[in-house]
């Protein structure tokens, strides 16, 4: 993003305050929403409600994890919703050969889209938004070519994956949490994570420092594609139907919102996984709150727009470190 360097210097203490606001604002927002719901929403504190919310947020969170990686490199992946559609089509086609093979095919499909995205970005030098935009259009079409209409996906294993649980915690949620931990660890503790952040901070500098910039970028988009594929797989398992027309629609927006609201700057160089989790929950909770209080879905969109602007506004004066 072409941010001007001519901005006024921010006093140090104010800069710190702004940075804290950006990093922890999402938790403040969550607390406000929780307090509001506990006070004014019927049956909010029931286990059933928590379960429902957690199951619904899981696919968004899984996609957002990949998106956080892409945004960390100062990129973005608009094709994630279409990858979900592709994975639901592939799943419907290959489930007959058993769920494990179907999962493998789905993962390979997601990785292939990611590889294409990453290659366009890393080797051809296309801007991420444009490259993934092209794939977004093409991959959704491919999903529809493979599976022209909605199809029931009935399989005992899939059904239990979609709605089963361990000690009351649904599998879907456990998988989402596990993936969040893995991605969080990768960003913080591995060489790959550090290289990723270095590239996001300054790609020319990373190049000069001899980092394998292209390889890391391609890997990031492969991760992003595979995570979206997993989300598509789990969403299909839960719905017990493959619907490539509508699955994953606008998912890229929800994922970007979760990441940005969670304090990851669009300018790259930093990734907040805990914040991303909180951001995804915040969006889900906001939607649920508005619906529970009988506000029509259109208000959700307006509110989501407002939340995005507020979150980015809070983050605006803090440039890169």
């Amino acid at each position: 993003m072409a941010d001007v360097a001519l901005r006024k210097a921010v006093p140090a203490d104010r800069a710190v305050l702004l940075r804290r606001l950006q990093e922890y604002g999402v938790y403040g927002g969550l607390v406000v929403l929780l307090v509001f719901n506990i006070a004014f929403t019927d049956n909010f504190l029931s286990g059933e409600n928590f379960r429902t919310q957690a199951v619904q947020v899981s696919p968004i969170l899984i996609v957002a994890l990949g998106m956080a990686l892409a945004i960390g490199t100062e990129g973005v992946d608009l094709s994630v919703g279409s990858v979900m559609a592709l994975s639901t089509s592939l799943l419907a086609l290959y489930l007959g050969y058993g769920p494990w093979l179907a999962l493998l095919v789905v993962l390979v499909g997601g990785a292939a889209v990611g590889l294409l995205n990453g290659s366009l970005i890393a080797f051809v030098g296309v801007q991420p938004i444009v490259a993934t935009l092209a794939l977004m259009v093409g991959v959704r079409g491919l999903a529809l070519v493979l599976l022209p209409q909605l199809k029931d996906v009935r399989n005992p294993g899939m059904a239990s994956l979609g709605s089963g649980d361990i000690a009351g915690i649904p599998y879907v949620v456990l998988i989402a949490v596990a993936l969040a931990l893995v991605v969080g660890f990768t960003v913080r503790r591995t060489t790959f994570g550090r290289q990723l952040l270095a590239i996001g901070d300054s790609r020319p500098a990373a190049q000069l420092a001899g980092l394998p910039v292209r390889r890391v970028l391609v890997l990031v988009y492969i991760c992003c594609g595979m995570l979206a594929a997993v989300a598509g797989f789990l969403a299909t398992a839960r719905l017990q139907a493959s619907d490539p027309t509508s699955l994953g629609n606008l998912m890229e927006l929800s994922a970007i919102t979760a990441v940005v609201v969670g304090g990851t700057p669009l300018s790259g160089g930093r990734v907040r996984i805990a914040g991303t989790v909180a951001g995804a929950v915040l969006i889900q909770l906001l939607t649920a709150t508005l619906i529970k209080h009988d506000l029509p879905p259109s208000w959700t969109q307006i509110a989501q727009g407002a939340v995005i602007v507020l979150a980015v506004y809070a983050a605006r004066e803090r440039g890169k470190r």
């Binding site: 360097a5 801007q127 444009v130």
Partner: protein
């Protein structure tokens, strides 16, 4: 189609062109970048008219022209935005908002049906511009937010998309979309006029120079006294107004405010602008290219429709693949220009 003859050297790229060793190779690639879409369009159209009897018929051409008009008007605004180095993702939502407001307003007369949507959509654009220019938020994320919000507002005034406002077919307003002048639909004429005005504004006015300067190098432009913030605000407002106008014309054409339109339109518009030779990094571009880009997308769509066995899913695959090819070519040509 009106294709403006324009100078091949845009203002802000003069530094590129002054680089040592600028020779025939560079000029060739510059031409390829600027007129590649036009060549592709001509080739495709010629091949298609030989391959399909129904392609080059008056009805089909007229149909393609009118259905291109709405996207073209949106792409015109997008061209200005992209030349400043920005992006406007809200145009699809603003388009459908404009259409619904126009259909609703048409019962109070043509003036209301036009001015109400243009005002509201202009305001959305103004908000975009203020947040981007004054609060210095990233265009991508700001317009993403207004994309959600504008669609939310549209759903709100149509009972969650359940109510469709109709335009009286006999009203003067409907003529804006359905009328014909010299056998050519009114939307096509309006689009043509807008593109001529847009091209002149971009090439010959002070405002146009500011647009290129802001996209070329914002800091340098600011230091030279270009009103950076004002230029950005105008550009995003313009984009909102034009997207709204496209919605107005579309509502007049369909004689109703259809609530499900506009999804993904921002992507089509961006694609058309990019195919037309405008660089997403800003500072370079021209409106005639965007027009060619829109028509090219429509011709591809039409050809796929003509090959009856291919359904719309293949169409998406084809446009995605086509976009990838164009992007690779553009990036390659752009790099070549910079290197040479």
């Amino acid at each position: 189609m009106t294709v403006m003859k324009e100078q091949p050297a845009p203002l802000a790229t003069t530094t590129d062109q002054d680089s040592p060793g600028s020779g025939r190779g560079e000029r060739l690639s510059a031409h390829a970048q600027q007129h590649g879409a036009l060549v592709a369009l001509v080739v495709l159209a010629v091949v298609a008219s030989f391959s399909f009897d129904s392609f080059a018929t008056g009805d089909n051409v007229e149909n393609m022209a009118v259905s291109s008009a709405f996207l073209a008007v949106v792409a015109l605004g997008m061209t200005f935005v992209i030349i400043t180095g920005g992006i406007d993702l809200s145009v699809g939502s603003v388009f459908v908002l404009g259409g619904v407001l126009a259909a609703w307003g048409s019962r109070y007369g043509t003036v209301v049906a036009i001015l109400l949507p243009l005002t509201v959509c202009g305001l959305v654009g103004l908000v975009n511009g203020l947040l981007i220019a004054k609060a210095r938020l990233a265009p991508f994320i700001v317009t993403l937010a207004t994309m959600l919000a504008a669609r939310g507002v549209m759903l709100n005034i149509t009972d969650e998309g359940g109510r469709t406002y109709l335009v009286d077919k006999d009203a003067f307003f409907a003529q804006l979309g359905q009328g014909k002048v010299l056998g050519i639909g009114t939307p096509v004429w309006i689009t043509a006029v807008l593109f001529v005005v847009g091209a002149v504004a971009l090439r010959r006015s002070r405002f146009g120079q500011h647009v290129y300067a802001v996209g070329g190098n914002e800091d340098a432009a600011a230091l030279m006294g270009t009103p950076v913030a004002r230029t950005k605000i105008i550009v995003y407002t313009l984009s909102g107004v034009l997207a709204g106008l496209a919605g107005v014309l579309n509502a007049a054409w369909l004689t109703s405010g259809v609530t499900i339109l506009g999804i993904g339109m921002e992507l089509d518009a961006i694609a058309a602008v990019v195919i037309g030779g405008t660089l997403l990094s800003g500072g370079m571009g021209f409106v005639s290219g965007s027009l060619v880009g829109v028509v090219l997308l429509k011709v591809i769509q039409n050809i796929i429709n003509q090959i009856g066995s291919l359904d719309s899913a293949y169409q998406q695959v084809a446009s995605g693949a086509f976009l990838v090819v164009v992007i690779i070519a553009q990036t390659w040509l752009g790099r070549r220009r910079r290197v040479l």
